[in-house]
């Protein structure tokens, strides 16, 4: 209590003192006819000019320090074929941008020092100069033409791959990734969002899948119906049957609406999916697919095309080490083709990566100790993360990616299950021969 009173007194006194100061200031400025705020004194002008120089050194020094310390970004060399091209293009761009950054900012900060006000010097009355202006319109235009041409060549190479390679589907939903390998036939089974159920999370179209979704829908309708029934009372008013519910109106409406929607969904599956489909072919296409969660394995030096789908909102598949990224858009399929060139193991043997991860382990475990969690060893891994705002756990929507030799891959994929529940068998080199056969065919 006493403390609060003291603080109160101090505040009041402070305000009073401030008011007095203001009054004194005002009186003096009236007396002097204060123009001091309009005129910058030579001393002030000089100090600001010098500060521009100081600031320039600080800005340049800071930027160069950051370039040396963090310039490589910590991702290491690009681990895909096209990634190397992107990095080369990036370096090319930096060589244009950095000189512009330093020279232009340099001029901007040196001019204030050189040309600070000097009453003895009369500035030149320079209105325009066609020759100069032509030069600095055409020079940027030429440089940019180079940037555009180089950039578009790279872009077209990446976006129009000659060969699709092995097909994998990446399915995004709040907040995890599922990968579906296309199996021996390199064809993904068709899928439809209406078939998504707990046991068929990707909505793959198979005879079983359709039956299962009917079952799920029917069970849900029954459940809702029975809830409604259990909470309803039938009444006869004027010989007319009416139903009253013990539940709030909103709840009843919501449940009835859901029943209607489920019925519509069932009808749509029947009228749409079932009629169009070639059951045997579709089932066969889906049967050898392999669905995996948690981590995804890829074979080194092999071309992959990822097809991206999303269940709910926009997501974005971002493989920082592969320099690959593509949005996952509900209602449409997007794709990205890439060819990993370095195995996870080789990457872990890279000198830069070893040093870098030594550093990361130190920092990582410092933090773990600080927050009282168990220490752990962190090793390099490729990663897939979400890069489009998607909700509460956006910052933890990730999947580990392993790049390995074909033999290692065989071991791993054969420990997984086919979509039809069977065992996966992978023949080394099979895909390669198939590709070759295709090429000969063409």
């Amino acid at each position: 209590m006493e403390n609060k009173f003291l603080i109160f007194i101090v505040v009041v006194l402070g305000v009073l003192a401030l008011i007095q100061l203001v009054k004194v200031y005002e009186m003096t400025s009236k007396v002097t006819g204060d123009k001091s705020q309009e005129n910058i004194t030579p001393g002030e002008n000089l100090s600001q000019a010098v500060l521009f120089l100081v600031f320039m050194f600080a800005l340049f020094g800071g930027t160069i320090y950051l370039m040396l310390e963090y310039g490589n970004g910590g991702l290491g060399e690009a681990a895909t074929e096209h990634g190397v091209m992107i990095d080369d293009l990036l370096v090319f761009n930096w060589w244009i941008i950095l000189p512009v950054f330093f020279i232009m900012n340099g001029m901007l900060f040196i001019f204030p020092f050189l040309y600070r006000r000097d009453p003895k010097r009369k500035p030149v009355y320079l209105v325009h100069n066609n020759k100069l202006e032509m030069i600095w319109t055409t020079v940027p235009a030429i440089v940019l033409a180079g940037v555009i041409i180089y950039g578009l060549r790279t872009w077209n190479f990446i976006m129009n791959p000659e060969d699709e390679g092995t097909v994998i589907e990446l399915y995004a939903k709040q907040f995890d990734w599922t990968a579906r390998y296309s199996g021996e036939d390199n064809k993904l089974g068709k899928a439809n969002f209406k078939l998504v159920t707990g046991t068929n999370p990707l909505g793959v179209i198979t005879t079983e899948g359709i039956a299962e979704s009917f079952e799920t829908i029917d069970t849900e309708i029954d459940r809702l119906d029975s809830v409604l029934l259990a909470n309803s009372i039938e009444k006869y008013i004027d010989n007319q049957k009416t139903t009253e519910y013990l539940l709030p109106d909103g709840k009843v409406a919501e449940m009835s609406e859901k029943i209607e929607r489920l019925k519509r969904q069932k009808y749509r599956i029947k009228s749409g999916l079932e009629i169009e489909r070639n059951a045997d072919a579709d089932d066969a296409m889906a049967a050898n697919d392999v669905v995996v969660k948690g981590e995804m394995h890829l074979i080194v030096d092999k071309t992959y095309t990822f097809y991206f789908r999303s269940q709910d909102v926009l997501h974005c598949a971002w493989f920082p080490h592969f320099r690959a990224q593509m949005n996952c858009v509900p209602g449409m399929t997007t794709s990205f083709t890439l060819k990993p060139t370095i195995t996870t193991k080789d990457m872990r043997l890279d000198e830069f990566v070893i040093d870098h991860y030594k550093n990361i382990n130190t920092i990582h475990n410092e933090r773990k100790r600080r927050i009282g969690e168990e220490e752990e060893v962190v090793d390099f891994d490729y990663i897939l993360m979400c890069n489009k705002i998607c909700g509460a756990s956006h910052s933890n929507m990730q999947m580990k990616v392993v790049v390995e030799t074909e033999a290692e891959y065989k071991n791993w994929i054969e420990s997984q299950k086919r979509f039809d529940g069977g065992a996966v068998s992978y023949t080394i080199g099979a895909a390669a021969t198939e590709e070759l056969a295709q090429e000969i065919e063409e």
Partner: protein
């Protein structure tokens, strides 16, 4: 607007018609500025809060719980949904309320009539309605921070389906409804303002004020208003479509979605359509923010270099070119949406074209400074700072415009660093420059220059200290809009960098107190300003210090020359105002 109108204004005004429902452009400008300052305080305070989270994700901050309540920050730990809410509202408030409404609203309103020699805006009534809609829209946006389910949380770009489906995010309920309502009202305000600016500039220029004698500030306000008029309706229509998707079961932007509510009925729409509509506004919006900033800097730099602006016609050409090009580049925000790669290539081309007029502008600024007689008023410092950020942020745009590079930079902190420097900092610095420069015109008093110096140096240091390091986070692959990076040990080597950024951000935010104090104190108690404190040429400095309806007593000034006759050979003074007749035999320029 004739002298008849002027005479009619002489009746005594009540408090309400003078200060609240005023139709005088100078009062409306001040209303815009004050509202923008309040919104600015909120906007940067939100960023300070989420910077605390990003800098020290393991710490507890009592202030979070105090400000956000125990629901959103239990025990001082920020909730991850609320983090997205803070990010969303920070972006929305800064982009729309502060840098669009605030910047254009303040300076277009203040300067257009005064610099072209008009008694007031073409329609004072529309002008007043425009401000009050802006006020209403700002109030609704603020109110959305206080509702139980939280404000909009889908990012300032509110991409569907996240912004449509409440089950995917709590902020997509009432919070998003308020966001859409607020922005729709905001657009109405911007359109009314914009029409008014355009009509006033075209019709109400005083005698002798040819388009080629307009100060560059007016040219930028003019092109800005046209951009707004052409692009804001598109955002309004997309907001309406979004509202229909949210509440009426349409499917403009939705297709093939399964949520916790099961498979949705909506099929056939596309979220990419929304992105196209959004960025059709969103990219011109960048220049709606940037052009007035460039215009303000042009005035301040010419005046305080005591030299004509270099390449006046080239500057106008650049403004027009930038304005035109800004409409055909929106796709560069969407390279990775599955867009046809050829279309992507077209957008690469158009986007990089913008670099040419931008480069011309920068060269012209540098040549204006070259061999000038530079006077470092606070406004001049901020304007030079603005040119610096325009350069530093502009060059990294070359990387992001390159679709192939966008693959490895898109939505990383590189983007955040880039646009905050080139658009955020540039516009904010120019806005400060404008306030310091035209404060005497607004309040008839001077701001304190020493506080202005301190304010500038801390602001630019902290601004660069925050956003340059972000480029390096981005090079490390760090995605934006992550609540925490702790789930990814691969980012651990950049923990320090995030701490540094947060420290700069906090200091930068706190240093704005120098400005607020200076602003409030000077508005009430600052020394009285003389009529033309900066010895400038433009017409606003021929009007009396004390505000009056109709701006000039007696006849309107007549213009005889362009606005940049500084240190013209053969003249005694180092400046010749626009209303001074040419001497016999004198050439215009």
């Amino acid at each position: 607007m004739s002298d008849h109108g002027h005479a009619a204004h002489h009746h005594k005004e009540s408090f309400f018609t003078k200060y609240v429902f005023s139709q005088d452009h100078k009062m409306i400008a001040k209303q815009y500025l004050l509202t923008a300052i309040v919104m600015g305080i909120v906007g940067i305070a939100l960023s300070a809060l989420f910077r605390l989270q990003l800098g020290w994700p393991d710490e507890k901050f009592g202030i979070m719980e105090t400000l956000l309540g125990s629901g959103w920050a239990p025990d001082g730990v920020l909730d991850s949904n609320m983090y997205l809410g803070l990010v969303t509202l920070h972006g929305t408030i800064m982009v729309f309320m502060v840098l669009t409404g605030g910047l254009s609203g303040t300076f277009s309103n203040l300067l257009i009539p005064l610099q072209i020699g008009a008694r007031d805006m073409a329609s004072g009534l529309l002008n007043m309605i425009s401000y009050w809609l802006f006020f209403l829209s700002s109030s609704i946006m603020l109110a959305s921070l206080f509702i139980e389910s939280g404000p909009a949380m889908a990012g300032w770009t509110i991409y569907p389906p996240l912004s449509v489906l409440e089950e995917t995010q709590p902020g997509s309920g009432l919070g998003m409804t308020l966001w859409l309502l607020s922005i729709s009202i905001f657009i109405a305000s911007a359109l009314l303002g914009g029409i008014n600016y355009i009509v006033t500039i075209i019709n109400l220029r005083t005698k002798g004020m040819r388009m080629t004698r307009l100060p560059l500030s007016i040219w930028t306000f003019f092109v800005t208003a046209i951009l707004g008029l052409l692009s804001f309706p598109v955002l309004l229509s997309s907001a309406v479509l979004l509202i229909m998707d949210r509440h009426m079961g349409t499917s403009f932007f939705l297709s093939d979605i399964t949520t916790s509510n099961g498979a949705l009925d909506q099929t056939g729409g596309s979220p990419v359509l929304f992105e196209h509509l959004f960025w059709f506004l969103g990219h011109p919006e960048v220049y709606i923010i940037l052009l007035p900033a460039l215009g303000i800097s042009s005035e301040v730099i010419a005046t305080n270099s005591r030299k004509p602006i270099f390449g006046y016609r080239a500057m106008i050409g650049s403004i027009l070119a930038i304005g035109f090009l800004s409409f055909i580049v929106w796709g560069h925000h969407m390279f990775l949406t599955g867009m046809n790669p050829f279309l992507g290539g077209v957008f690469v081309f158009t986007t990089l074209l913008i670099a040419i007029p931008s480069a011309v502008k920068v060269f012209n600024y540098l040549t204006t400074l070259w061999k000038g007689n530079l006077v470092f008023t606070p406004a001049m410092l901020f304007s030079i700072g603005m040119v610096s950020t325009f350069i530093s942020g502009g060059v990294t745009g070359i990387i992001l415009a390159d679709a192939a590079l966008d693959i490895s930079q898109h939505d990383t902190y590189f983007v955040v660093g880039h646009f905050h420097i080139v658009m955020g900092m540039s516009a904010i610095l120019a806005m400060f420059a404008g306030v310091y420069h035209w404060f005497p015109k607004m309040y008839g008093r001077m701001m304190n220059k020493k506080l202005g110096f301190i304010h500038f140096w801390i602001t630019i240091t902290c601004g660069y200290g925050v956003f340059i390091p972000m480029h390096f986070l981005g090079e490390g692959g760090m995605p934006r809009r992550y609540y925490t990076n702790s789930e990814f040990p691969m980012f651990d080597h950049m923990i320090d960098l995030n701490v540094v950024i947060s420290i700069f951000a906090t200091v930068g935010v706190l240093s704005q107190l120098f400005f607020f104090w200076n602003f409030l104190y000077s508005a009430l108690r600052g020394p009285k300003a003389s009529q033309n404190p900066w010895r400038a040429n433009t017409l606003e400095w021929t009007s009396p210090v004390e505000h009056m309806h109709g701006n000039w007593p007696g006849d309107l000034p007549v213009v005889h020359r362009w606005p940049y006759d500084y240190n013209k050979p053969g003249q005694a003074e180092d400046f010749v105002m626009q209303n001074v007749p040419l001497e016999p035999g004198e050439e215009e320029h």
